[in-house]
């Protein structure tokens, strides 16, 4: 596959991620922050996000699995998840987090549990999408091209 083709696929994928609400403007901000001095910035940040998220999802599952749920603790985790997901522009994850926090406030264990499943799902989705995006970028670079900038 030549560079042009790869780049076109990159554009399409990126556009769909935005169109389907997986990503928002914040992700664009990240891309703009990437420069020569920090060429892998987006990848690094997103990787950090993945690490954090997996830890948080585990913590959430544990917290909600307690006989007596400490909703404040759950809320703190969700709050952090919301913060980091919004920071990288993972919009759909963030949106679930908002709903999740409402259930926390209500001390609604059922609702929280449902949200946890939802957020896991959204997270898995955006993770796989981003991973394919990064793979594509690597291919572009490997083919001697450069990753295009989003407008």
């Amino acid at each position: 596959m030549d560079v042009n083709q790869l780049q076109r696929r990159w554009f399409d994928l990126t556009a769909s991620l935005f169109r389907e609400g997986f990503l928002d403007d914040q992700y664009t901000q990240l891309q703009q922050l990437q420069d020569e001095s920090n060429p892998d910035f987006v990848f690094e940040v997103v990787s950090l996000f993945f690490d954090d998220s997996e830890r948080l999802l585990n913590d959430l599952a544990t917290a909600l699995d307690q006989p007596v749920v400490d909703f404040r603790k759950v809320d703190a985790h969700v709050h952090q998840f919301k913060g980091s997901s919004s920071s990288i522009g993972a919009q759909r994850v963030k949106n679930v987090c908002i709903a999740f926090r409402n259930y926390c406030e209500e001390n609604n264990r059922e609702g929280c549990w449902r949200c946890l499943q939802q957020v896991k799902h959204e997270y898995a989705l955006v993770k796989s999408k981003l991973e394919s995006l990064f793979r594509l970028e690597q291919e572009i670079v490997a083919a001697g091209g450069s990753v295009p900038m989003m407008e």
Binding site: Q26, Q29, L30, Q32, L33, D35, N38, F41, E44, V45, L48, F49, D52, A76, H79, Q80, K82, G83, S84, S86, S87, I88, G89
Partner: protein, 659 residues
């Protein structure tokens, strides 16, 4: 102690860190705001990384930190190493608000809070805690590009505050500037009160400090043009009594303004001063915390109408006495409200016009230097001009002093009425602290300092009319203090001007028969001092050498007579001490331990005698404070076993004033 001492210093360095010219808005380097030193604190590493990159893009110098506690120690380590702090709100190790509070108290840096929680209540909370901005996550680079404005704004606001109320830091920082535009104190509300004495004294001080503050040369022209209100001691007293009347929690600028009823004073002036005042109270609590590990609650709860004996005040005084709390720090704290520079322990209050009057009337004051010198331990330094005013030294005073055992009780200088007490043993302080802590629980005694009615404003004439009869205020000795180390002493001194005063007595017959105190009433002539010290230890109190800085006391001696000072006698008296005719003026007071405290704001700064007269609160047993209101004559109040404190209700004072 060190932490407290650092307070002003750190502020100073921080403020200057960015360089005056930059902060001034003039002569900014071309790169500004490039190089702004930003500390970012967030437990979320993803956010942290993004923020770091964003800030780098803005050409700021970024330091990141994912633990609030780490951030705090970093800030403490590198004082003056940052210009602005950006902190997340929710962090596991320390709440962002807590960090904000510490930073505000210790470093006085602008702090920007951020959180993904954008609810109004959350933002409001941040603002209330003193955040200069609140960013909602995800933070955008556009918002960060602008954060330098907070650094500049803070600087400018500080400048403005100096005009209005002034705070120690600013005064220190801009000392020179103030001196320069002294000429246009035009709109000072109470110009009269700020006599030339004050100015010259200030100049002197300025000159001294100039060397240290090389950087302070920035004169801000815009600042000097705005109308400025100088919060003189009198004005501040009025303010404090208004706040007292209303209660600190209910005191709003408008009501305070109404109560003060000072022409020319605006709601804004009051609001700004009130803010300072609150900050000051808060800072006091912070200091206390750092110092003695006194629980915050102890200090922070300010009861509106606090009773005279404030433990809090007490602490500080105690600390000051023991040398734990450097007087400068204390003075600085107090002075903050009055906006007076506190380079040394010179009492600005002395130069107030009132004092001037007093000195003119009855110049029988002993120059400050005498007393302390006689004892060999100068308490405080007074600026030369002050002493000049009191031109007539009283002879014999020195001898009186010498008669005293050096370390037993120290008294002071007439003109300034300085009494210095120093506790040699630090454990004493510890005891006090302990006691205070114990007493925290007792509502009455626990809070107060702040609102201490420091306001006895009595015109000299009035004071003559006043008779102070026996105003003995017995203080019972608290069990805590019973250890040998404690000494209670009370000095009452009257100024020669006020013949009527003759009282001072401490009663003691009533007091458990323990010790009698000497009250002298020598009208016009000498002041009386009575001290009772527990037999066990005679050596406890001594006059602090300058180095120890302990004490202080009332400065406005001229008024002393008018105010019956409460003398505290702890249980027994020492025979050795009995009468000492001290110099004539002084009046002051004793509250055993609390003495030292009086200094700062109240004593030091107030030209009139504001004594907080009754503050003593140490009573171990009952924890009760007795309020005595003065009705123009003497009251004799002796409560046995109970620490009596004389307290002048603000209203009384006001009425006196109005007469």
């Amino acid at each position: 102690m060190t932490t407290v001492q650092k307070l002003p210093v750190s502020t100073l360095s921080t403020a200057n860190s960015y360089g005056p010219s930059k902060a001034d808005g003039r002569g900014l380097s071309n790169q500004f705001p490039a190089g702004l030193r930003v500390l970012v604190v967030d437990d979320d590493t993803t956010c942290l990384k993004i923020l770091e990159q964003m800030l780098r893009k803005c050409s700021y110098e970024v330091t990141t930190c994912c633990r609030a506690t780490m951030a705090l120690s970093l800030l403490r380590e590198r004082k003056g190493g940052f210009d602005v702090v950006i902190s997340d709100v929710y962090m596991p190790d320390m709440d962002g608000y807590k960090l904000l509070e510490y930073v505000g108290l210790e470093m006085d840096l602008p702090v920007i809070m951020m959180s993904s929680d954008g609810r109004t209540s959350a933002v409001m909370r941040g603002i209330k805690h003193g955040a200069c901005d609140y960013l909602i996550k995800p933070v955008r680079i556009e918002e960060l590009k602008n954060i330098w404005q907070h650094v500049i704004r803070k600087k400018w606001n500080d400048n403005k505050e100096i005009e209005n109320s002034g705070s120690v830091e600013e005064v220190e920082r801009h000392n020179k500037r103030v001196a320069v535009d002294e000429a246009d104190y035009a709109s000072s509300v109470n110009e009269g009160a700020d006599g030339s004495c004050w100015k010259s004294q200030k100049k002197r001080r300025d000159a001294k400090e100039e060397e240290e503050d090389g950087e302070l040369d920035n004169d801000d022209p815009s600042a000097s043009k705005k109308p400025r209100v100088v919060w003189s001691v009198e004005l501040h007293q009025q303010f404090v009594s208004a706040v007292n009347q209303l209660g600190i929690d209910k005191a709003v600028p408008k009501r305070i303004l109404e109560l003060m009823n000072v022409p020319g004073l605006t709601r804004e002036n009051v609001a700004s001063h009130l803010q300072k005042f609150r900050l000051y109270l808060k800072r006091l609590s912070g200091v206390a915390q750092q110092q003695g590990g006194i629980p915050n609650s102890f200090c922070s709860s300010v009861e509106p109408n606090s009773k005279p004996g404030s433990l809090r005040g007490f602490d500080f005084q105690a600390m000051a006495a023991s040398g734990q709390l450097p007087p400068q720090a204390l003075a600085a704290l107090h002075a903050e409200l009055l906006g007076r520079p506190t380079g040394n322990l010179v009492f600005p209050g002395v130069d107030s016009s009132v004092l001037l009057q007093a000195s003119l009337q009855g110049p029988k004051c002993v120059p400050i230097e005498h007393a302390p010198i006689a004892i060999g331990q100068p308490l405080m330094k007074c600026s030369p001009n002050i002493s000049k005013q009191f031109s007539q030294p009283i002879e014999g005073v020195p001898s009186g002093f010498t008669a005293w055992p050096p370390n037993s009780l120290g008294m002071a200088d007439p003109s300034s009425n300085v009494v210095g007490l120093n506790t040699p043993s630090s454990n004493f302080l510890v005891q006090m602290l302990q006691q205070q802590q114990e007493q925290q629980s007792s509502p009455e005694s626990s809070h107060n300092i702040n609102v201490q009615p420091s306001c006895l404003i009595v015109p000299p004439q009035v004071s003559n009319g006043f008779q102070l009869g026996n105003n003995p205020s017995p203080v019972s000795q608290s069990s805590t203090f019973s250890s040998d180390n404690i000494a209670g002493y009370s000095l009452i001194s009257s100024q020669s001007n006020n013949p009527s005063f003759g009282v001072g007595q401490v009663l003691d017959g009533d007091l458990k028969n323990v010790g009698v105190i000497n009250g002298y009433s020598v009208p016009g002539v000498s002041s009386m001092s009575s001290c009772s010290i527990r037999p066990e230890n005679h050596t406890i109190w001594r006059i602090p050498g300058p180095s120890s800085n302990a004490s202080i006391i009332n400065k406005s001696s001229s008024f002393a007579p008018s105010i019956p000072e409460a003398s505290a006698s702890y249980g027994s008296r020492t025979s050795g001490f009995s009468d000492q005719g001290l110099g004539r003026n002084l009046g002051f007071v004793g509250k055993g331990t609390c003495i030292p405290s009086r200094f700062a704001i109240d004593d030091t700064e107030s030209p009139r005698s504001e004594h907080m007269s009754g503050r003593i609160a140490m009573n171990g047993d009952s924890n009760k404070l007795i309020k005595q209101e003065v009705n123009g004559d003497l009251m004799d109040s002796t409560k046995v076993g109970i620490p009596g404190v004389q307290y002048f209700a603000p209203s009384d004072l006001m009425s006196i004033i109005s007469k």
